[in-house]
């Protein structure tokens, strides 16, 4: 019984965590890309 409850809880936690992280990382990742490219932009020689 315990192990069945464990997997139910773990699956619920995985779905909630993954949905949240997808939105959060998707949003913040765009900022990271912009910053990275601005630092790597080829400058005048």
């Amino acid at each position: 019984m315990f192990s069945r409850g464990f997997w139910t809880l773990l699956t619920g936690a995985a779905l909630i965590w993954y949905s949240t992280v997808t939105v959060y990382v998707g949003w913040k990742g765009i900022r990271d890309i912009k910053e990275m490219l601005s630092r790597l932009r080829p400058g005048p020689k």
Partner: protein
């Protein structure tokens, strides 16, 4: 089959166009080898998390995790839990990866050279590439089989479809290196995650959570919930996976590449902590798809190849429209993994295996050209190896055994390099030798008719555990038996280095 070419095909086409555009857009930022291999070490936390997650989730991951779910029930997600735990602990403590990032190297063998000398660097590079490429060799065919099962594509077009896909990936990886990999990984992470979550919710809604749990109870029994009591798993499965996943967290080249491309060690640790729980999802979500196949499909419908159970289920359960999203998600998974794997193995070939041929520093242009050629050659290898190697046993075990060729020795070398003063080149050489020979022999025994039965009796788990133990012992014994260099006498005028 619910794949509609006008609707789902358009979604897939749009995704492929966006990926190519993003991948090619950043090629102008690549001016140096360091930009090509580690994105100029300018990667920040969230991009790192997206890239690591996308890289470590390929179609091949989805297939073996679903196969685990089909065969072992929920207990099949055990490797994911072990990997998440290992990654969290390493992220919290900085064990090995902190000194690795702080050393400023591009690859692990480069760090090993500082402790064990150039020969060990070269040998480490060879086993890393050998283990990595054998591991990666399965990706293309498995990805193709998934797409055939899912979309109903004629199997005779499998090779052609996968060749075209690989060409797409090769073009942007060759031109943009790690920068293209990171940008496309980000896009692929978003598409992949939305697709995975949408399909999982759909499956749970259509099949029902109770039905999934009941299917595991009736078909597998208590072993489907607890790996220690499953007849095909047991403590040896758990221990082998604990060792394998810990070693992977410390030394798997695609994972380490994110630490080395991070802005600093602190960012690298944050990426590890932030991504750790993803590895539970990486096994559990496709595992649920596999369990759903167990609940819905009869053994006759699945056939002898249990890898095909999950795609067969999805081809009937996922509606038009969502099927396009699913195929795009799986292509995203496949492409992000292929691009990153091609780049990271090429970085070891260039940085370590070719090191003896670069006595003087090469011009950036020449270095970039060589890196691009190596990525292209790896693509060609993938194409041919993936088509002729006959897979025996389950996919996760094949990946575990080939990965062990280098994970066992390089993890021991890295730990010794960072934390054991007495470690030396004899111990390192012995560890590399045994780390390559034991799993390599096991793979050969599986393929040879006269030894196949013995290989089956030993099994991959005992063979894997023995490899890690013997490699550790080889490092200790080899290091202790190496004679200490005699100090030069002062009256000879020798130096005291």
């Amino acid at each position: 089959m619910n794949f509609s070419w006008p609707i789902d095909g358009s979604i897939v086409g749009l995704y492929l166009l966006a990926t190519m555009a993003a991948g090619l857009m950043v090629r102008k930022y690549v001016g140096k080898v360091e930009h090509f291999l580690v994105a100029g070490r300018e990667m920040n936390v969230y991009l790192g998390i997206a890239s690591l997650a996308a890289t470590e989730f390929g179609v091949v991951t989805c297939m073996y995790a679903a196969q685990n779910g089909y065969r072992y029930g929920f207990a099949g997600a055990t490797p994911g839990i072990l990997m998440a735990a290992a990654m969290l602990v390493v992220g919290l403590t900085g064990f090995c990866i902190k000194p690795l990032r702080e050393s400023g190297v591009i690859t692990i063998p480069e760090l090993l050279e500082r402790k064990f000398g150039p020969r060990i660097r070269w040998a480490a590079g060879v086993v890393i590439v050998l283990g990595g490429l054998l591991n990666m060799g399965m990706f293309l065919r498995t990805g193709g089989e998934f797409l055939v099962g899912l979309t109903g594509l004629n199997p005779k077009y499998l090779e052609l479809t996968m060749t075209v896909l690989l060409l797409f990936v090769a073009v942007y990886t060759i031109l943009g290196g790690m920068l293209s990999v990171l940008i496309t990984d980000f896009l692929q992470f978003v598409v992949l995650s939305v697709g995975l979550l949408a399909v999982t919710v759909l499956i749970i809604a259509k099949v029902g959570w109770g039905t999934l749990v009941h299917a595991v109870e009736t078909h597998i029994g208590s072993g489907g919930f607890n790996p220690f009591v499953h007849p095909d798993m047991g403590w040896e499965y758990v221990l082998f996976n604990a060792l394998l996943n810990t070693a992977a967290v410390l030394t798997w080249q695609t994972t380490i590449a994110r630490v080395l491309a991070a802005k600093n060690a602190k960012t690298g640790l944050k990426i590890y902590k932030g991504t750790s729980f993803f590895f539970v999802c990486r096994f559990l979500i496709p595992g649920i798809w596999g369990i759903a196949a167990l609940a819905i499909l009869t053994p006759d419908q699945v056939g002898p190849n249990t890898l095909q159970a999950m795609p067969k289920l999805l081809s009937t359960i996922v509606p038009v429209g969502m099927m396009g999203l699913l195929v795009a998600a799986m292509l995203a998974a496949d492409m992000s993994t292929d691009s990153s794997y091609m780049l990271t193995w090429s970085s070891v070939i260039y940085n370590d295996i070719m090191a003896p041929f670069r006595k003087t520093k090469w011009a950036e242009k020449k270095g970039l050209l060589w890196n691009r050629m190596i990525v292209g050659l790896i693509g060609i290898f993938l194409l041919f190896y993936g088509l002729w190697y006959p897979l025996k046993g389950d996919l996760w075990t094949y990946l575990g055994v080939t990965g062990t060729i280098y994970l066992s020795s390089i993890s021991v070398l890295l730990i010794a390099c960072c934390y054991w003063k007495k470690a030396n080149s004899w111990g390192a050489a012995a560890a590399i030798f045994f780390g390559a020979v034991i799993p390599g022999s096991f793979l050969a025994m599986e393929q040879i008719k006269s030894t196949a039965a013995l290989a089956r009796r030993i099994g991959p788990y005992y063979s894997g555990i023995a490899t890690y133990l013997i490699v550790g012992a080889a490092m200790v014994i080899g290091s202790l038996i190496k004679p200490k260099p005699r100090p030069a006498r002062a009256d000879t005028g020798g130096s005291h280095v």
